[in-house]
Symmetry: C2
Subunit: 233 residues, 2 copies
DNA sequence: AAGTGGTCTAGACCACCTT
DNA sequence: AGGTGGTCTAGACCACTTG
């Protein structure tokens, strides 16, 4: 027999999750109140709360004050993706990192870029093209816009020494980020830059960041063929 | 002046986050002990702990017992992606949903599929091809393998009535999932099935799920051209 | 209006990890 | 071996949201 010294929130979570998985609490069903579960399992409401918090974060249940706790009627699969600085990502693969500046021009943001930030008017920006290399081969192509009102210091950065990607991450923290993932066919120019055939399928990640409400940067990162993005454990 | 009735963990989190963003605690720097922060800010250690928990989940800090709390030396961008049942996804777009079974054959898993599960030996599986439609147009193409040892009931399912995707999500909960995102060029067969041109770039999501250590299913979902996967707010 | 989850306090003990 | 974060309890009050 196992001595149950005290019930940890992980135990509680596992019990509740098991009941959900076994459909003891079916899809869309309402769970007992935290207090009742606490009484039933022999722990504090705080402990049940901690367990529920974890299940909610995992996307298994939905909680509302007064409304109670419900199993999600439409189950979802939730994945977390970590995107490191490209230099670190390459180094972590055990490959040599380098980057190359392609272009950097000051210009007002074109409509699609303005729209990404949800801004009404075009903004004064720096438009940067850059290529990340792994073992001297093209790894990722960046097409980036940096808001100069929020981030004037970028004008003084020497992109021969540090990529815009890394400079921004290290010097311009953000509070909000939106990401979009999609696939594109390499056009002629992209193919040349990435050293692949025109038409090849390329995974593309679009990232836009803000500091509060102020736009910082938006980037379209086009990965070389074969790139795979994996979810965190 | 604002009356500070009591300090909520969100306030504490914002203070600490602001310090990190302002590089008051620089990259890789060690933060004060929870207890000291609590004393400084005038709240309980529990409240500081709750704030730290949030910052750790966001990927800003790293905590270790005895080691203390550190700002991550290599900042990462963390995104969460929710993947609903395909039917729900289509309906949420305000489009009509339908699905079509392409094939369903019992077969031992080929090496690449066996490997996805980390299994040593081929397993008895059901191989299913299916097409999801939105407004009667191809939306997503599924190439799925279901483990029959774990999930024999799948053999009795009528895929004319419910897609394997939805049946599994509703009847076979999982405890672990791994996802991979990449881009592929449509081959001739895929192009025909998705109603696009051969060679078009298609976003592909590979999902593999387990219940404990037991394999459940692995699926390669190929989205029609134009598909975009967005991170959760 | 009231029920339910969310949070805070105060204090104690535990467990992990670095030193 | 000791310091730090992790957790649990017990009780109180708060705030959202639904009936």
């Amino acid at each position: 027999m196992t001595a149950a010294s005290r019930l940890s929130w992980i135990d509680v979570r596992d019990v509740i999750r098991a009941r959900i998985l076994a459909r003891e609490y079916g899809l869309g069903a309402k769970l007992p109140r935290d207090e009742d579960l606490a009484a039933e399992l022999g722990c504090t409401r705080t402990t049940v709360h901690r367990a529920m918090q974890d299940l909610a974060a995992a996307g298994l249940i939905d909680r509302k004050r007064k409304g109670g706790t419900h199993v999600l009627a439409d189950p979802i699969t939730r994945a977390t993706i970590d995107i490191p600085v490209t230099r670190s990502e390459v180094l972590a693969l055990g490959r040599a990192y380098a980057h190359r500046l392609i272009s950097a021009q000051r210009a007002p943001s074109p409509a699609p870029i303005t729209a990404r930030f949800g801004a009404a008017q075009p903004r004064d920006m720096l438009h940067i093209g850059a290529l990340h290399l792994a073992d001297a081969r093209p790894y990722m192509l960046e097409d980036r816009w940096v808001d100069l009102a929020t981030c004037p210091e970028i004008l003084a950065v020497d992109f021969a020494q540090i990529s815009a990607n890394e400079w921004l991450v290290r010097h311009k923290p953000y509070t909000r980020v939106e990401m979009r993932f999609f696939a594109i066919n390499a056009d002629a120019e992209t193919a040349t830059q990435l050293g692949c055939k025109a038409g090849e399928a390329l995974l593309t990640v679009e990232r836009t960041t803000w500091l509060g409400d102020a736009p910082i940067t938006t980037v379209q990162a086009i990965a070389a063929p074969g790139y795979v993005l994996a979810s965190k454990s």
